[in-house]
């Protein structure tokens, strides 16, 4: 089971690293997961690649839960990219909290939320 994920953010490496470490943008889960995080310049004008490696932690129990952990890591990478590039988290009617692995199988219908649902989703 591969336990690596990567995303490219359309910003210079210094800025990406600075935002990654800032309290406003820092991806909590990845930081707590004892993952290896590296930043590399992407080719041409493409910005910065962020590589996350969960394989650094080789305990058997951790390995067993690699898939759900990886899904959470991917969610956080996407949310970080969205925040940095667009200033907000993409929200739809089916997925009002923004991308979340838990939502994949429990989608709301694509119709506007009731006030109580908006409150629950924090929007």
């Amino acid at each position: 089971m591969r336990a690596k994920a990567a995303i490219t953010v359309h910003r210079a490496r210094d800025e990406v690293r600075r935002l990654w470490e800032s309290s406003e943008y820092q991806p909590d889960y990845i930081e707590k997961a004892d993952a290896g995080v590296t930043f590399r310049d992407a080719p041409g004008d493409r910005g910065t690649e962020i590589h996350v490696d969960l394989e650094r932690d080789t305990s058997a129990v951790r390995k067993l839960f690699a898939a759900p952990r990886l899904a959470k890591v991917k969610d956080e990478l996407r949310r970080f990219k969205q925040l940095v590039e667009t200033g907000e988290i993409a929200r739809s009617d089916s997925t009002p909290e923004g991308e979340r692995a838990q939502r994949k199988l429990k989608q709301r219908p694509a119709q506007p939320l009731q006030a109580s649902e908006r409150e629950k989703a924090g929007v």
Binding site: R91, D93, P109, A110, P112
Partner: protein, 392 residues
């Protein structure tokens, strides 16, 4: 508000649902004045696009008046009249910066779902399954428009709704299909499918300078529209003329068209007996998502070194793909959901200049509450239906 809701295969109904609200600072809310049913909505209606859910609001072609804007939207004001492009695009990512709006990297909050099926997520789309984000659509009284500072185009003159509504999808989609063909003058372009997108592909190919445009369909009244309104020079009726590849060769002195546009997509309705029957069975049992007679014939008919332009919608996998013809004839394939934001301004200028009047495709005008009838009439091509416009 009232909205057109999908509730299973071949079932839509207009229901009361909550009004949309601003969820993000770059959102706007549009009060819809005109909206349309798209041929690609029929793929949802027929149940061939995965990840639909009961209660989903349909519709990705709409326009109206801005009634609310988020704090970060400075380009639009309450009262502005706008047409909304169907792909939702952030304007900030690498793809958007390169005008590849339908490939926006940030607008699909179900990216993980899309990635599983397509390898990568593509842009969010209004009312078009959960694979493209699970956004409520615009066959409704109101819609929430994310990244409203990037997508909607303001209409500030007295053009009617019907003249500009199709900037939301089918006019740019048809135009991009023709642009893919690299028309420089003197070409023969064949267009499979004389539905609304096909009509605009034909009209655009003519505008771009193609010498001959051949419309192909199995519905006679649509071929008539292609010839009389869109500007096709030739037509092939699939009912009457059995072997379309041979017909196309005959019409082109044996060469084959320089480029062929597939404006049909995954539910092509014709084909050779055994293959057609096998594909219908496979699609019905979900062992193949995409039927592909038009795309196959496009590849077989195109001249060596030519271009196959795919703007008809496909959703998954197709069998019996003619790789041999594709490779040995050295064809190029270009495909995609339209990067609508790229084309809205130049095509609006064409409409203003009188180079095209997009209203020629409209055959049915209904109230929003008649949406279910609209779907049935459009699907079964009753009453010479080409395009249904709904007014909330």
């Amino acid at each position: 508000m009232r909205a057109t809701v999908w509730s299973g295969r071949n079932t839509v109904q207009v229901e009361n649902v909550p009004d949309p609200t601003i969820l993000n600072d770059r959102d706007a809310i549009v009060k819809i004045t005109s909206t349309a049913i798209c041929g690609s909505d029929l793929h949802l209606y027929d149940g061939y696009i995965p990840t639909m859910k009961k209660g989903d609001i349909l519709g990705h072609e709409f326009m109206g008046e801005i009634v609310d804007v988020g704090r970060a939207v400075s380009t639009l004001q309450v009262g502005d009249r706008v047409v909304v492009p169907f792909p939702i695009a952030c304007g900030n990512c690498w793809a958007c910066r390169h005008e590849l709006y339908a490939a926006c990297e940030n607008s699909n909050p179900n990216a993980g779902l899309a990635e599983k099926i397509f390898g990568h997520p593509a842009a969010g789309i209004f009312g078009y399954s959960h694979l493209t984000g699970g956004y409520a659509g615009g066959q409704a009284e109101y819609a929430r428009v994310p990244f409203a500072d990037v997508g909607p185009i303001k209409i500030e003159d007295d053009l009617t709704d019907e003249q500009v509504l199709f900037l939301s999808d089918i006019f740019p989609t048809g135009y991009m299909g023709a642009e893919f063909c690299e028309i420089g003058g003197g070409e023969v372009i064949a267009v499979f499918g004389a539905g609304p997108v096909g009509q605009f592909a034909i009209a655009s190919a003519v505008m771009l300078g193609a010498e001959r445009v051949i419309a192909i369909d199995h519905v006679a009244y649509r071929l008539e529209m292609a010839r009389n309104r869109a500007g096709a020079t030739d037509t092939i009726n699939l009912e009457a003329d059995a072997d379309v590849v041979e017909q196309l060769k005959e019409l082109t002195g044996g060469r084959g068209p320089d480029a062929v546009i597939d404006a049909v997509g995954m539910e092509g309705e014709y084909g050779h007996g055994a293959l057609k029957a096998a594909e219908r069975l496979k699609q019905a049992t979900r062992s193949e998502t995409d039927r592909g007679p038009a795309l196959r014939d496009a590849i077989l008919a195109c001249r060596p070194g030519g271009i196959v332009s795919v703007i008809g919608v496909y959703g998954g996998l197709m069998d019996k793909f003619p790789t041999g013809a594709l490779m040995n004839k050295g064809l190029s394939i270009k495909a995609g959901q339209c990067h609508v934001q790229r084309y809205m301004k130049p095509l609006l200028d064409h409409i203003r200049a009188g180079n095209i009047d997009p209203t020629f495709v409209v055959t049915h005008r209904l109230g929003l509450d008649e949406a279910a009838n609209g779907y049935e009439t459009f699907k079964h091509k009753e009453d010479e239906c080409v395009k249904v416009v709904l007014r909330p």
